[in-house]
Amino acid sequence: MSSRTNRWRKTVSLEQINNLNKRFRQLSSNKETLSREDLASIPDLDNNPIRLQIINAFFDKRNLSQSEVGIVQEIGFEEFLMVLTHFQPAAMDITEDNREKLRRTKLRFLFNMHDTDGNGIITLEEYRQAVEELLSKAGTIAPETVKAIADAAMLDVASTTRGKMEPDEFYEGITFEHFLQILKTLDIETTMHVRFLNLDTANMRCGK
């Protein structure tokens, strides 16, 4: 068991883990592992514009362990939990250090979702792709607008992080440190969480 999952197990009750296990079994049709098709068949996800990226995130090796890059085809319950740990809330008495670590973990997850080729940098193309996906379910949007938004965002990052640039300098893309910098006002550690409390997903009861 990884240390992160262990830490999470301390903050989450056994009941919640059981609930998630039940859900896992339900999704994987009682098999031991979950595949992409299982996740893709969840009907509620159909309306989600970033559906594919979410599904990919579950199978992205970078979210499952720190060092590897690539995609796995199937995940077990352990890995399922590991991805979900990224969404745990910050504990009330969390120290400053741990809070920073939590932020980095969550932002890393987001970063990995954008950085589809795994080279550690979000290039302009990847960012454009992300914005396009985000707006994909919103009706017909002119591709120029999408591009313009992504370009504006990229320019914003570049000018915030690099400042003045000579005309022949080239900004490779958003590195993880830059990503941290531009999103530091979002309070990720408090906003990026899902309530796992009192889940009884077998009956799909409405939560709080």
Partner: protein, 761 residues
């Protein structure tokens, strides 16, 4: 003489005080009913107030004084004017306004004025409850409701409701009950006050007042969460206050309470609050629907917003429902749709009018509070009054601590001890409590005592708590509001996060917060927006709307700062992030390009100089230009503040000219073309160019020379004069500038506006 004195305002030290003093004197004079019913004639005056009652012949009256005729509006106008001059005065004196919150200063002014009036022997005006509830309160609440930050409000709505409902109930009963217990003590000599009376008093004095909270919290800039908690509580507790007040008043009249009455009271609470919200929502949708059709009568758009909201307030007051909640609901519901429909100017008008009215109201309320304090008949009883103050504090603290303990079990972001302290300390009472107390019928024998106690509590909370909260906030290092505006990255990622969290919730099978939020927003988009938003705009997702707003602001700034002046700081431009490989340009081609461009630039330098870049210049720009396309393009140009061409290398050469100025101008021309091309194609060098809507120009040619794969519009590279193109660009540019002076959120025909002033929102 008055004007001379004002003109001398900076001439000598102490002048400010003298101006203020003068203003005070004027305020006093306005309150005196001047008996000027007699008209003054140049010849001997006759008796009688009417000009028609003349029995003796006299010369035609050249000038007369008829104060009665204009008395009421004159006095109202004078009060408002002088109140605002006071407000102005406080901000001129910097030291005071940084220590003492404005509300305190205004109350002091009111006290002084009231004192003057009393000294003179007149009866000072009291804050009339009807005036307060019907005229002074609605603008403040509408301003608060219309600009309520929705996201933090809905994120914390559970907490806010718990504080508002349960907290106020607890306060009312605790204070009422304890005071009753206090009254039972023999030595206090208050045995005449019954339990119901005490409870009534408790319900009046327990509600946190939105006006006071706004006035104080506005100045201390604490973080959004705390602000919305205290402020939301002060808004939503109105329903509780209304119900409790009416309930206890009824019970007091009847004398006895049965279980049925209590039960009906609870039902009444739900009716009052939900009914108020329903009324507000109905009017909100009406306003949104009306705004759909106002595209031809832009001038009256703001009026619809104000009137529908006021009607919502009055309608709910009509039925004894909660007017405040109606107003808030109306503002909240109406805003997204109305803002999508109305023009930019109307939006600015609404914003400024709301701020203006709420500011005036607030000022008047506090001044009148001061005056009423001096005016009202008082009955002082040490035990009761001090007991009230202490009990209010104690009950507030206990209530907040107890409720937070329960609430924290359900919150993800727990409330810390610091947060609790601020929430408890921010529970200010204000004019609503006073007005409710004033409304008490005279059948209450202890009415004056109650009023005195209420005023004391108000003074205590506003003065003591209001003044000390700022240093306490700094002492406790409470998190402050972050001042920066949202960037587009934050906006993108906020939306991204919403979808991500919703997706994860779906994967976990948990119908949580995000699931319902998303469902609501999809319902909104498919059904509601279709009806309430004019034109095709309802399809526009939020991100695009945000982006357009941002573009608009940038473009406005660009126009105002004198177009492409080189004073604009250029940091990063498109070429810095464009990852495409830069194609090689042979030396010969480079030379040729440079030659062409330089010759063209020389030709046009004079032309450019002579043209005035005024946005008032008329132009014959092609009207059929797609407004949004132009806007996008120009903003894109704005974003590449430095010169950049799609092929980065070429631009590099272009910035090394013989002449410093011209390349900017000339190259800008080049860039226009390339931008145009950029928009219509992919950036890959192998893509086709669509035919641009502008007449083809020679500078395009120079680029095409490098990329023979492209479809050429012209094949010869001649030093063509592209004056026409320049002219075209400029005209488009100016058309943009003109359009931007009243752009509206979507394409619309240009309006004649005489007023070219651009409001920066």
């Amino acid at each position: 003489m008055i004007f001379e004195m004002s003109a001398l305002s900076c001439a000598f030290p102490g002048c400010r005080w003298s101006v203020l003093l003068l203003v005070l004197v004027l305020l006093v004079c306005s309150a005196l009913p001047i008996d000027a019913s007699a008209s003054v004639y140049p010849l001997r005056g006759t008796e009688g107030s009417n000009l028609t009652n003349v029995t003796t012949k006299k010369a035609f009256p050249v000038i007369g004084v008829n104060y009665d005729h204009v008395r009421k509006p004159f006095e109202i106008a004078l009060w408002i004017l002088l109140a605002l001059l006071m407000k102005l005065g406080f901000h001129i004196i910097p030291r005071v306004s940084s220590v003492v919150p404005e509300s305190c200063l205004l109350i002091v002014v009111g006290l002084l004025v009231g004192g003057f009036i009393k000294v003179i022997g007149e009866k000072p005006p009291v804050l009339d409850s009807q005036l307060f509830f019907l005229c002074l309160l609605p603008p403040i609440i509408l301003d608060a409701g219309y600009f309520l930050p929705i996201r933090p409000f809905t994120d914390n709505v559970g907490t806010i409701l718990v504080f508002a409902v349960i907290g106020t109930l607890w306060n009312a009963f605790f204070v009422g009950g304890s005071l009753y217990a206090l009254c039972q003590i023999e030595s206090v000599d208050l045995a005449g006050i019954g339990l119901l009376s005490c409870l009534l008093f408790g319900s009046i004095v327990s509600a946190v007042d939105p006006v006071a909270v706004l006035a104080v919290f506005e100045e201390i800039h604490i973080n959004e969460l705390l602000h919305i908690l205290v402020f939301g509580e002060s808004l939503l507790n109105d329903a509780v206050t209304v119900v409790l007040y009416n309930l206890f008043e009824e019970f007091y009249k009847v004398g006895t309470v049965t279980v049925l009455d209590v039960f009906l009271g609870v039902v009444c609470f739900f009716v009052v609050s939900l009914g108020g919200v329903l009324v507000g929502v109905i009017y909100g949708f009406l306003a949104a629907f009306t705004s759909r059709f106002t595209s031809h009568t832009r001038v009256i758009e703001p009026l619809f917003v104000f009137l529908y909201s006021y009607m919502a307030y009055l309608s709910s007051e009509l039925f004894h429902l909660s007017g405040i909640m109606a107003l808030i609901a109306c503002g909240v519901v109406m805003r997204p749709y109305v803002e999508a429909n109305i023009s930019h100017k109307s939006y600015t008008t609404i914003k400024y009018f709301l701020k203006m009215w709420s500011s005036v109201s607030e000022t008047l309320i506090f001044i009148f509070l001061g005056v009423s304090t001096v005016a009202g008949p008082h009955a002082w009883n040490w035990a009761f009054v001090v007991g009230t103050v202490v009990l209010c504090l104690v009950s507030r603290v206990l209530g907040v601590i107890g409720l937070t303990f329960i609430i924290n079990k359900f919150r993800i972001v727990k409330l810390t001890k610091k947060d609790q302290f601020i929430v408890a300390y921010g529970g200010l009472r204000g004019a609503i409590a006073f007005s409710l107390g004033y409304l008490l019928s005279d059948s209450h024998p202890t009415r004056h005592l109650f009023l005195t106690a209420i005023i004391t509590v108000i003074f205590f909370t506003v003065f003591v708590q209001g003044m000390t909260i700022r240093p306490l906030v700094e002492l406790l290092a409470v998190k402050r509001k972050k001042e920066s505006k949202r960037s587009i990255n934050e906006e993108i990622h906020t939306e991204f996060l919403d979808h991500l969290l919703r997706g994860v919730e779906d994967v976990c099978g948990h119908y949580g917060h995000y699931h319902w939020k998303d469902k609501l927003s999809r319902f909104n988009k498919t059904y509601v927006k279709r009806w309430l938003i004019a034109g095709e705009n309802f399809r526009e997702p939020e991100l695009i709307a945000f982006y357009r707003k941002m573009e608009l602001k940038q473009a406005i700034m660009m126009v105002e700062s004198g177009q492409l002046s080189s004073s604009l700081p250029s940091t990063v431009s498109m070429q810095n992030i464009e990852p495409k490989p830069i194609p090689r340009v042979s030396k010969k081609q480079e030379e040729e390009i440079r030659r062409i461009l330089r010759s063209n630039l020389q030709n046009n330098k004079q032309r450019m100089r002579s043209r005035s870049y005024s946005r008032h210049t008329l132009f014959e720009a092609d009207e059929e230009d797609n407004m949004s396309e132009v806007r996008l393009r120009k903003t894109k140009m704005e974003m590449d503040r430095r010169v950049s061409v799609m092929e980065g290398r070429v631009s590099h050469y272009l910035t090394v000219p013989a002449n410093r100025e011209s390349p900017r101008i000339g190259v800008r021309r080049v860039r226009f073309e390339s931008d145009n091309q950029v928009f219509s194609t992919d950036r890959l060098p192998t893509a086709h160019f669509e035919k641009p809507s502008y007449p083809s120009t020679p500078d395009a040619v120079s680029l095409e020379a490098e990329f023979p794969k492209r479809v050429n519009q012209k094949t010869d590279i001649g030093p063509k004069v592209y004056a026409s193109d320049n002219h075209q660009r400029e005209l488009d540019y100016q058309s943009l500038a003109r359009c931007l002076s009243d752009p509206g959120p979507h394409k619309e025909e240009e309006e004649d506006d005489d007023d070219d002033e651009i409001f920066m929102s």
